[in-house]
């Protein structure tokens, strides 16, 4: 029997069309049809009483692990308009604000790693003064704080906004202080570049974040 014929017969097993399809063919098909019909005619089992309540009780009792919550917050697809110029002028959402903080966090994470690799792998670490040695952990800590504030802003609340404002002001202060101290401590020409980089990145970023937060705060005004 060809595959197509076989499929056609299987398609009608347990239904009403078998006699039309196979007529006087192999009685084995009729046996299979009888088995299929027995299954079709089986009474449907009723779900036990209270199964819906038990399912809902499990749903109510379920508390996701903090890692799962964090993973979902990070991986959940979001639509965020990325328009920093508009963010300086018009009210923005908490999600957009959160996005800018997380972006700043990512920048500092990369910067921290580059500085850490630069100081350790290129052998500059032993010769570098104390404050310069602290630059990689400072950058990584900044990254962590910015990402944490960004995630907190996803909650879209007043407390998150207040925390973010304090965070942005502290960030601005640290960026300024860091730039000055590095240039004073390290009496080599490269310190000027480190200082310049810190100020060039820190000051506009800090002002941008503060301005964005002001525009976000207009939603609560």
């Amino acid at each position: 029997m060809k595959d197509r014929e076989l499929e056609k017969i299987i398609g009608v097993l347990g239904g009403k069309g078998l006699d039309r399809e196979v007529g006087g063919l192999d009685p084995r098909w009729k046996e299979l049809d009888a088995i299929a019909r027995m299954m079709r005619e089986e009474p449907a089992p009723e779900p036990p009483a209270g199964v819906a309540e038990r399912a809902m009780a499990r749903i109510r009792a379920h508390r996701p692990s903090p890692w799962k919550v964090l993973g979902e917050a990070l991986l959940k697809p979001r639509t965020v308009s990325f328009d920093p110029i508009r963010a300086l002028r018009a009210p923005v959402s908490g999600q957009e604000c959160s996005f800018y903080f997380i972006m700043v966090g990512i920048f500092y994470a990369v910067l921290g790693l580059v500085l850490w690799v630069g100081l350790h792998v290129l052998g500059a670490f032993p010769a570098a003064p104390g404050w310069v040695r602290w630059q990689p952990p400072i950058a990584l800590a900044t990254a962590g704080c910015m990402a944490a504030i960004g995630l907190y802003l996803l909650k879209d609340g007043k407390l998150a906004l207040r925390t973010a404002r304090i965070g942005a002001l502290v960030y601005l202060g640290v960026a300024l202080f860091n730039g000055v101290v590095v240039s004073l401590e390290w009496s080599v020409p490269v310190s000027a570049y480190v200082s310049l980089l810190s100020a060039l990145v820190g000051l506009p970023t800090g002002f941008f974040l503060i301005r964005t937060l002001q525009n976000y705060g207009k939603r609560y005004a």
Binding site: E46, A52, I59
Partner: protein
């Protein structure tokens, strides 16, 4: 089954109203329980699995795409949960423990007929439990749930032709088992 606006309910659940999910549970507990029962052959396992399937569906609701049909999506989750359960059960203690036929609602037949019906259900369920989960799943969806081969293919990810061949192989195995047990003639 009561007509419900699934899209609206899902929107409410995603918006934080957990209790709205109860409407979906009530609407689909029957088919989900039936599937779990036919696949495990045990009332208790089917009860646990029904709860587990709804919990998984609730947790995965964020990934439910707008415009998608809820029931096939729920069924796919159900099949995955049941497959995992069967895999674990097989690893722990060999094949599943069929406990007999379903306690069907009273269909108005005589006690003797009802007893015969229960015996036949128990026997068929027993044969079903001796099949591989993939073949059993195909037979359950096709002959107990009355789904089309195309719909089954959509749920399992197989081609329609492959689903038909699984159904054929499953029926053929049951026929052979019945023949071995000496039940072949009285059923057909």
């Amino acid at each position: 089954m009561k007509q419900i606006d699934e899209g609206e309910i899902i929107g409410r659940v995603l918006g934080g109203d957990r209790e709205a999910f109860a409407e979906l549970v009530n609407a689909y507990k029957g088919p989900v329980f039936r599937l779990a029962f036919r696949m495990t052959g045990s009332d208790r396992d089917a009860d646990d699995l029904t709860q587990e399937i709804f919990l998984r569906a609730f947790l995965s609701l964020g990934r439910f795409r707008t415009g998608q049909k809820f029931f096939p999506w729920l069924y796919t989750i159900g099949l995955n949960v049941i497959r995992n359960h069967l895999r674990k059960a097989r690893a722990a203690a060999g094949e599943g423990s069929g406990t007999g036929g379903p306690d069907a609602a009273d269909s108005g037949c005589s006690p003797a007929e009802a007893a015969m019906g229960r015996e036949r259900s128990r026997r068929i369920q027993g044969y079903l439990m001796r099949l591989s989960p993939a073949v059993r799943e195909t037979l359950v969806l096709r002959f107990y749930e009355g789904m089309s081969f195309e719909d089954i293919a959509g749920l399992t990810g197989d081609s329609s032709g492959s689903v038909k061949m699984k159904a054929y192989r499953g029926l053929e195995k049951i026929r052979a088992m019945m023949e071995e047990d000496g039940f072949g003639d009285d059923e057909s």
